[in-house]
Subunit: 102 residues, 3 copies
């Protein structure tokens, strides 16, 4: 099976940020995303009061260059004020051409 | 800790396909799976009308050869008609021998 | 964007173990975790009667050495009696210094 190496970007944030983050993801060029409800706690490194309770996990499969731009965007607009967790991992994606924006 | 390098296969599909996909995964040789409810949207590459709303994420840890067979199976039976998202990633699994079928 | 290579440890266990596992994760040095509800089944390698139904997925981003200690701990205290699934994967984490305990 032919697969394409891409990046899975995972963003975990308070639920209130969901729609805004999704909108910005798509604006930056992501072609889709997956949402799931999670709970979380950052007991030391992240301020627990901000991060405990209901959160949303937003995942998007994107090319490496777009992953970098998403991370830059989040750093610039969220990190000072929100307890957002962001990480990327390597994935091999079937029909990978569908994840490259216009 | 001794771990075994295996593949985590992730399938995201509309909820109606859940039981059928799980049945086929096990038929192909997977020894287990994990289900979670997600929402998703493919805004460009995937037909949004097919993919928006409630979906199921099915994950299964399998040996590399079985991962390939699962991807081939999905490509043959689903890709023409369903907006299924499929990707694999490398994982290091404790008690990895449990994930190899008979 | 500067990222730090860390390990994402995923633990899937019956829901009753949730609080105990979270407590032990933090005791071992993890600085946070994410919880989500999943369903699962281990059809052959794992005793299905123990593992079917509602489970919890616990994820934590930690340095590699701590990932090893978590796996050792789980092996020693859980594997003989519980159908716990444990795996790790490589992730690149933004603000990775937040995930290193005191």
């Amino acid at each position: 099976m032919h697969t394409v190496p891409l990046k899975l970007v995972t963003i975990i944030a308070e639920g209130l940020l969901r729609d805004r983050l999704v909108h910005e993801l798509l604006e930056l060029g992501a072609t889709g995303y997956t949402l799931s409800e999670v709970k979380g706690e950052g007991s030391r490194g992240v301020r627990a009061s901000d991060f405990a309770g209901r959160n949303v996990r937003i995942e998007s499969i994107v090319p490496p260059g777009l992953a970098d731009r998403i991370l830059d965007h989040l750093a610039e607009h969220y990190f000072a004020h929100y307890a957002v967790v962001v990480y990327t991992m390597d994935v091999d994606v079937v029909r990978g051409d569908k994840y490259v924006g216009d």
